[in-house]
């Protein structure tokens, strides 16, 4: 599903060169739930950004869903992200001026051929899946952290992506809420067969996934 070969990411300023990722080779299979762990600054989020096509590697190639995506134009990358990827972030990244249902609909706004009625129907279904169908008209600042993350999950799954990339999705939640969100992702992985790559610091959460990859100083260590 995701094949990373010889990935290297170097950040350069006039005086300093920082190697964020060094020769990463990684294969993630379809339907797999993988956790990426490692200390802060080890390159986990950089890797997730590269997998999410938000950042280009300095060197190496990325094949996703049998498609070489390294050299795609910004427009094609946007389309690929929209069709194939779902994102969940530690700090939810909901738009405060939009209602819950409008936030969930967001990815479908950029997908051609979907009517407003269809968008609304699918947003309601996604909110149903995360147990928030009663909160459609609320605004993000009227919700708890756990509820916000569930809205973010609904937004990530509305487009039926094949891959979900989650950057510390439970990092801002208490253990009970974190558990709830984790169970939701496990459920998605099990029932829909969605491939999930999750960056986390929480070993308990990581243990619930099928594979844990450890990073240290920009390199994969296990």
């Amino acid at each position: 599903m995701i094949h990373l070969s010889n990935i290297e990411k170097v950040y350069r300023t006039k005086t300093i060169e920082t190697i964020a990722l060094n020769n990463i080779n990684l294969n993630i299979n379809k339907g797999e739930f993988v956790a990426i762990m490692g200390p802060s600054g080890c390159g986990k989020s950089t890797l997730l950004n590269i997998m999410g096509l938000l950042d280009a590697p300095t060197r190496g190639s990325i094949v996703m869903d049998d498609q070489q995506v390294t050299a795609l134009s910004r427009k094609k990358l946007a389309l690929f992200r929209n069709l194939k990827l779902g994102f969940i972030f530690q700090s939810y990244h909901l738009i405060n001026d939009l209602s819950v249902i409008d936030n969930v609909e967001l990815p479908l706004l950029y997908r051609k051929g979907i009517s407003g009625t269809e968008r609304r129907k699918r947003a309601l279904e996604a909110l149903e899946k995360v147990g928030l169908s009663a909160r459609t008209k609320h605004y993000p600042n009227q919700l708890s952290g756990g509820q916000r993350q569930r809205v973010a999950i609904a937004r990530a799954i509305i487009g039926n992506p094949e891959i979900i990339l989650a950057d510390e999705p439970t990092g801002n939640l208490d253990s009970a809420m974190g558990e709830e969100v984790m169970n939701l992702m496990l459920h998605l992985n099990k029932t829909d067969g969605t491939t999930i790559v999750m960056v986390t610091h929480d070993e308990l959460m990581a243990k619930k996934t099928q594979r844990v990859i450890h990073f240290f100083d920009g390199q994969q260590v296990s």
Binding site: K75, A78, F89, N96, D97, P107, L109, Y110
Partner: protein
């Protein structure tokens, strides 16, 4: 919505810009259209001589005034002399109450002499101009302008009718073409009546102006030959072409309009660009998120340009409603009317839409080029 508060200053600026533009256009469009209307007379061959009789008693002033007129008339380069209190582009008529068939109205009274129409080539559409023999009558001979005749007499011919001017009986002897103060002015429904006060101004018709200095010397000599040192020629240059007044006025109006318009344009452009850029900079995380969710650079550009159009509509809508109401209630007459008002609303709105698009384009383009992961973390 929170964003409404964020956009408040932008909306306010758009509203004020619309009103300012509307006034700038509305008030000038009518004037501009007036430029293409006939003036009703020719001022190109008319010269103005203005005298100062200082503290001379009225009776003496009257005698000298007539004497100077005769002297001027004897100069061979001068075709015709008119003693007058009304000079286009410089001094206009006075409002008087007129009454006909128990109906009262206001009109401008133009105090001129029997040669006035000849000096300015003011055409008569009916009847005749008054002549010295009319002055002996008990009624004041008057010539109405065409627009006054149409306004107050409708289909009826006013020639031979007696009207009351400030309660004095006046006999209508003729109807002239419409008469406007200057090229930018609106029509001035009014009437011409003979001089009641001693003239201090003379309009001279002379096509032979090649040797200006010679003509000026002759005029100075004519004024000096009446036998008193009390009369002064008021201008630095003893004679001023009426045309000079006309040109001066046009340039001043054009200059003021251009300065106001340019100042407005620069300020508004900088203001709106600044506010729009600031508002977008506050939404970097949202832009990053939208890109991550699949928005292409073109989608982002379209979204913010679209938003700018919605904001423009919201900003100018109250202005459109207010000025439409003012136009319907005719509060802006005579500066503008419904027709030019509607054109001004359309042009001002169109101009602001174009201005807003140009102000929004660069910040929106910058937003469309943002790196999504960097933008996402800029809260």
């Amino acid at each position: 919505m929170n964003r409404k508060k964020q956009h408040f200053f932008l909306l306010l600026q758009l509203f004020v810009t619309f009103i300012a533009l509307f006034l700038c256009l509305g008030l000038n469009l009518k004037k501009l259209s007036n430029y293409f209307q006939p003036l009703g007379y020719r001022y190109e061959d008319a010269w103005l001589l203005e005298l100062d009789f200082q503290n001379m008693p009225a009776e003496e002033k009257s005698a000298y005034s007539q004497l100077i007129k005769d002297k001027l008339q004897s100069i061979k380069e001068i075709e015709l002399v008119s003693a007058t209190a009304v000079v286009p582009f410089q001094q206009w008529g006075k409002e008087e109450k007129i009454k006909y068939n128990k109906q009262s109205s206001l009109a401008l009274g133009f105090e001129v002499d029997e040669h006035y129409s000849g000096v300015l080539d003011l055409k008569l559409v009916e009847g005749r101009w008054f002549k010295p023999s009319d002055y002996a009558l008990n009624t004041i001979p008057v010539v109405l302008t065409k627009d006054l005749a149409e306004r107050d007499f409708k289909q009826e011919s006013p020639i031979g009718k007696t009207i009351l001017i400030a309660d004095q009986p006046a006999l209508v002897v003729g109807i002239s073409e419409t008469f406007r103060e200057n090229t930018a002015a609106n029509l001035s429904p009014g009437f011409f009546f003979p001089m009641q006060t001693p003239a201090t101004k003379y309009l001279l018709k002379s096509k032979n102006t090649d040797n200006f200095q010679l003509l000026e010397d002759k005029i100075r000599k004519a004024v000096g030959s009446v036998g008193t040192t009390e009369i002064l020629i008021r201008q630095n240059i003893s004679l001023s072409l009426v045309q000079k007044f006309a040109q001066k006025l046009d340039y001043i109006q054009l200059g003021i309009t251009l300065i106001v318009f340019s100042f407005l344009l620069i300020n508004v452009f900088l203001g709106i660009s600044g506010v729009f850029s600031y508002n977008l900079s506050k939404r970097k995380a949202e832009i990053g998120l939208r890109v991550i969710m699949g928005a292409s650079p073109a989608d982002i550009l379209k979204q913010f340009l679209g938003e700018s159009m919605v904001l423009t509509t919201l900003g100018i809508l109250p202005g459109v409603l207010i000025v439409t109401q003012l136009l319907i209630m005719q509060y802006l007459e005579p500066y503008t009317n419904g027709y030019y008002g509607a054109i001004s609303i359309g042009c001002s709105a169109l101009f602001i839409y174009i201005l807003m698009l140009s102000c929004a384009f660069y910040p929106s383009l910058k937003a469309a080029r943002l790196n999504p992961s960097d933008a996402l973390h800029e809260e």
